[in-house]
């Protein structure tokens, strides 16, 4: 037998590989850190499968359900908060079951590297009565994906595949296997399981309770749940990435590593607990395993020692279980470096004008959330995808049209198509007077530049119909739709002033591509020391390429400047000068 090829793979790449090897035929997703790269890696297998960016996670999951009903293996991928958007189909497909294997990959973000909350997908999955697998490294990520599809078909359950940022964005060694083509299951009409009206759903609820009990029983002997009996003085029940921290610190301890974290293998856990002296339960975020285990009368230590917030680490376990006092040097007290809008970002220019006009911003999810921090400090609210428009509408209904004349909603193009368009329909339908800024940078920026329904290109790289955003706004009833270049400060100011004063809904689309989309050599500006009057105007938008010399004059970092010219437009003394692109 020839040796398998070993490669180093990102967790998300391994998930994509696992799906490919499992014979997946359809995958749909909306980008969201830390899940985005799954689709970006999956697309390399487009000769063997179909994958797409859908406008949101609900749509993506329904696409996957359709593909499963049609008899093929299918999946959808999203970040944890995207699972809330997909909750509607997820809770009901749980009743329906599957034809071809169906897996919903959901990536949690302990530590909130790039998210608005720290929810635990296992809790949502339990509420939806969906079984959950959770891998602990890239190699398992690939293998567990294959098992998820097998189990999904065997037990007629859609499976949730939970990962976390650390798993998704860590690389490890993976052995490659061949793709296994799976024969499509025949579709047989059976409305008792595919039409979820009360009379059918009632019976399906009984059925899935039964299936889940069968699965829980099977979990006691499934190899995906693994007992490593070594020294029995310490026993640990764990899953996912924390397993690696346990192995790092306590290689001799006995471990029950759960690959399936819902439903739990009760007998296996009881048996393991009876064989060890002290039992610990180590899981990131909520005490999902712990509360169930303790409810069975098993004595164990868990969240008394460990946090429900953020990521775990080996040092955390050293302190909590071994009681080690780690002699670690104190970190230096240095200025923080939070994320910021890039040099040349068109959002900065728009926000500069919004700030100048002293407006509040009902904000949304995307790079432009960063307008909340100094020095721009213009964004008042950020909650969830699409919420900017609806929260502004709510304010107007509460306080009247005069109240929101110093407010705008600000939302990106991808987020607008995700769920923002629903909120805009609500504005016109319910006669709002608010002003919506669509910051259209022609991409899904924050997650690393994915195409969407208005970019004219699919995930698979094919040219396609591009939604005309201004026409879409007009179609839902907005009479005043204006397009403005984000860097045209004068016109932008005039248009915003005019539209916020208007007693009707208006949309202003600031259409300027993300500065990172273009790889062309860009112009470069320099600040002339002798002409600079140190007035600080050019520093106001907070461009990271602008710094001050010792003498207080402005200096532009030539490795960062992208030539947007915003600083030049703000300088009244002609101190900022264009250097030709070729001079860089």
């Amino acid at each position: 037998m020839s040796e398998k090829k070993k490669v180093i793979m990102l967790g998300n790449e391994a998930i994509a590989r696992g799906a490919y090897e499992a014979g997946v035929k359809v995958s749909a997703a909306y980008p969201g850190t830390p899940s985005t790269e799954i689709s970006e890696y999956l697309v390399q297998y487009k000769d063997d499968l179909y994958c797409e960016w859908s406008p949101n996670e609900k749509v993506a999951t329904e696409v996957a359900v359709g593909a499963s009903l049609a008899g093929t293996r299918a999946m959808s991928c999203m970040k944890h908060v995207g699972f809330n958007v997909a909750a509607d189909p997820a809770y009901s497909v749980s009743y329906m079951g599957v034809n071809g294997g169906l897996v919903i990959v959901v990536a949690d973000d302990p530590g909130l590297y790039s998210s608005q909350n720290e929810q635990d997908t296992r809790m949502v999955a339990r509420a939806a009565q969906l079984p959950v697998l959770e891998p602990s490294d890239s190699s398992e990520a690939k293998e567990f994906m294959k098992q998820a599809f097998e189990l999904s078909e065997k037990f007629d359950r859609p499976f949730v595949f939970r990962t976390t940022t650390r798993l998704a964005h860590s690389q490890g060694i993976v052995e490659l296997d061949e793709r296994k083509e799976v024969e499509d299951k025949p579709y047989e009409k059976d409305i008792r399981r595919t039409v979820m009206m009360p009379v059918n759903a009632k019976l399906r609820h009984v059925e899935i309770e039964k299936r889940n009990l069968e699965l829980a029983e099977a979990a006691n002997t499934l190899p995906i749940n693994k007992v490593e009996m070594i020294d029995t003085r310490i026993g640990i029940i764990t899953s996912g990435i924390p397993y690696q921290y346990v192995k790092e610190v306590l290689p001799e301890a006995s471990v029950l590593k759960l690959g399936m974290v819902n439903p739990l293998p009760k007998k296996l856990i009881e048996d393991f607990a009876s064989k060890v002296e002290t039992l610990y339960i180590i899981e990131e975020l909520d005490p999902v395993i712990e509360e169930q285990v303790k409810s069975w009368g098993i004595k164990a230590a868990g969240k008394e020692l460990f946090t429900v917030q953020g990521e775990y680490s080996a040092n955390m376990i050293r302190r909590a279980i071994l009681g080690e006092e780690l002699r670690i040097a104190e970190p230096a007290q240095v200025p923080v470096r939070p994320p910021i809008l890039c040099p040349g970002c068109p959002h900065r220019s728009v926000y500069y004008v919004v700030k100048k006009l002293n407006l509040h911003v009902a904000g949304d999810i995307g790079c432009y959330t960063l307008g909340a921090v100094a020095p721009l400090s213009v964004v008042d609210t950020t909650m969830c995808m699409g919420s900017s428009i609806s929260t502004l509408h709510g304010m107007e209904k509460a306080k009247g049209k005069e109240y929101i004349k110093n407010w705008v909603a600000a939302i990106g193009d991808s987020t607008f198509l995700h769920t923002g368009v629903n909120s805009l329909m609500n504005m016109t339908y319910n006669k709002s007077t608010g002003t919506v800024l669509i910051l259209d940078n022609s991409t899904t920026g924050m997650t690393g530049h994915q195409d969407h329904a208005a970019t004219g290109k699919t995930l698979q790289g094919d040219p396609t119909y591009a939604i005309d955003i201004p026409a879409l706004c007009r179609a839902v009833g907005v009479k005043h739709v204006t397009e403005v270049n984000a860097f045209d400060l004068e016109r932008l100011e005039a248009v915003i002033k005019e539209e916020v004063a208007r007693d009707e809904v208006s949309v202003i689309i600031t259409k300027t591509p993300c500065v990172l989309l273009s790889k062309e050599k860009k112009p470069l500006y320099i600040a002339q020391e002798d002409l600079c009057k140190k007035c600080g105007m050019c520093m106001k938008p907070g461009c990271p390429a602008m710094t001050k010399r010792e003498n207080g004059t402005v200096c532009i970092d030539d490795t960062m400047c992208t030539g947007c010219g915003l600083c030049k437009d703000l300088c009244k003394f002609g101190a900022i000068e264009l250097v030709k692109a070729g001079d860089r």
Partner: protein, 191 residues
């Protein structure tokens, strides 16, 4: 071999991902077990970013914790100071002696610390070079990270050919030559 712990720190957008992938490819080609951990998403927008690379006979956790780094590669000197406590006592600290002001400094809410390299030298073995200026001389300020990596290579157990091989397989094809040239600059610097 017990796991070797390497950290790459810098400012989002400076190319820490490319550098960690070169290191990961190198250790994989060397037949080691390898894990590395990266930062994507919001922090990549100009924030402080950390990447961990661990390789050895068997590697469990994918991150390097405080006090455990054998080599700390910093693409900016304030970031070197921020993460210096991750170094082992005799760990090597390789710094691009370059300043990028974080936003609190840009807006005047904080001061950029003075004398960072001197401060670091009191506690650590420090190899500092202004790699950004050096890379401008090569005609591309973006390849500074390969210069820094070249210095780090002096403190690691791989041959120059192994480095070249992985650089050729990792960087965009059009930039192979300039990246190798940049690596040479760092590799040949006396430190």
């Amino acid at each position: 071999m017990t796991a070797k712990n390497i950290m790459i720190v810098g400012v989002g957008g400076q190319g820490t991902l490319l550098t960690s992938r070169i290191l990961g490819g190198l250790a994989t080609a060397g037949g080691y077990d390898v894990k590395l951990s990266e930062v994507h998403g919001m922090a990549q927008r100009g924030g402080s970013v950390v990447t961990f690379v661990r390789y050895g006979d068997k590697v469990a956790e994918p991150i390097v914790e405080e006090g455990q780094a054998d080599v700390l590669i910093a693409f900016e000197r304030l970031e070197a100071l921020r993460y210096a406590h991750f170094l082992k006592k005799d760990g090597a600290l390789i710094v691009n002696d370059w300043r990028i002001d974080p936003i609190p400094v840009v807006i005047g809410a904080a001061e950029y610390p003075q004398g960072i390299i001197e401060t670091l030298k009191r506690e650590h073995k420090v190899y500092a070079v202004n790699a950004t200026e050096e890379s401008k001389k090569l005609g591309n300020p973006r390849v500074f990270n390969l210069i820094v990596l070249g210095i780090a290579a002096q403190h690691m157990d791989f041959t120059k050919e192994e480095w070249y091989d992985v650089i050729e397989h990792t960087v965009p094809p059009k930039t192979i030559e300039i990246n190798k040239k940049a690596f040479d600059v760092g590799y040949c610097l006396e430190s």
